[in-house]
């Protein structure tokens, strides 16, 4: 999922970096407004957990592996604003310290995962939580579906970036079809890990979960 340097041309990467900056700025503003001292350590824990989770590639199909994105997981646990910041920190550390994801591609990656992955996953979560009438189970179902959908959404975002500025001559539809179908599979793993993690915290300390707001006790 981490785009290396060279896949996508510099103007498109720069454009994405601008969008990503706007997204992170919005997240900082929102996180500041919503910051609850009690939740602060959980934000840190979620960030490090996502970093660790992204290190674990699991086989998803023959010759393909996938790892956690963590956008929906983070959004349900600490809210979309803090989640967006946490994912961004993870991506910056990965690119700078571990050469995972290109430096010129950082804006593309932040846009796909910290903005699209987080907000797409959280949007689906909100819809499902509402559809299942704001119960604790609704929070869990929303987390599952939000996590599942966030991965193909981020893959779609890559396909759009590639269609605009890919350094290759492939039909946009070919890239999209391949990216989408592969990432549907990876989304299943995302849904499993997210459901287990959110489920464990809902069981022990539901009061700490951001997504439990508005849920009948």
């Amino acid at each position: 999922m981490h785009i290396p340097d060279g896949f996508i041309n510099i103007p498109t990467a720069a454009g994405s970096a601008l969008l990503a900056t706007a997204g992170v700025g919005y997240a900082l503003k929102g996180a500041k407004a919503k910051l609850d001292e009690k939740a602060a350590p959980l934000i840190g824990l979620v960030a490090v957990f996502v970093f660790a989770g992204q290190m674990i590639n699991s086989p998803v199909a023959s010759g393909t592996s996938g790892h956690l994105l963590g956008g929906a997981l983070a959004a349900v646990l600490v809210g979309p604003y803090a989640a967006s910041i946490a994912l961004t920190v993870v991506l910056v550390i990965q690119a700078l310290l571990f050469a995972d994801g290109g430096l010129t591609a950082l804006g593309l990656n932040i846009f796909n995962m910290s903005v699209i992955g987080v907000w797409g996953g959280y949007g689906a979560f909100l819809l499902l939580r509402k559809a299942f009438r704001y119960t604790k189970s609704a929070v869990l179902i929303g987390s599952t579906v939000g996590a599942f959908i966030s991965v193909p959404l981020a893959a779609t975002s890559f396909s759009i970036q590639y269609a605009i500025g890919g350094e290759g001559t492939f039909a946009s539809s070919t890239v999209f079809t391949a990216m989408f179908s592969t990432h549907i599979l990876i989304g299943i793993g995302e849904a499993i890990i997210t459901t287990l993690t959110v489920g464990a915290i809902l069981k022990t300390r539901p009061d700490l979960v951001y997504g439990m707001a508005k849920v009948r006790k």
Partner: protein
């Protein structure tokens, strides 16, 4: 479960994943790499400017033992992520008050 205990357990699990389990991660190409290989645009990838850094590709330069190398890299990554996140949250909290 009290809050402190939850955080300690959560952090311990995180360190275990990054420091120990990471060694067992699949080395197959990820979704994007696989698509790039299959369609044939993997060659357009360029090395990152920091690809020669001491921790590049989740290994510590000079540490021969693979298990130790990825484990240390993982723990350094967790600590770095935690530190940056802590500073940001503190600054946000300060600017709020």
């Amino acid at each position: 479960m009290n809050t402190k205990r939850l955080y300690i357990i959560g952090f311990a699990i995180t360190l275990l994943i990054a420091g120990v389990f990471s060694f067992y991660a699949s080395s197959s190409p990820d979704g994007l790499e696989k698509v790039a290989i299959d369609l044939g645009f993997i060659d357009t990838a360029k090395d990152s400017a920091v690809s020669g850094s001491a921790l590049a590709d989740y290994g510590v330069q000079g540490v021969e033992n693979e298990r130790l190398s990825v484990g240390i890299a993982g723990i350094v990554g967790v600590l770095a992520t935690g530190l940056v996140m802590y500073v940001i949250v503190r600054l946000l909290g300060k600017s709020k008050n």
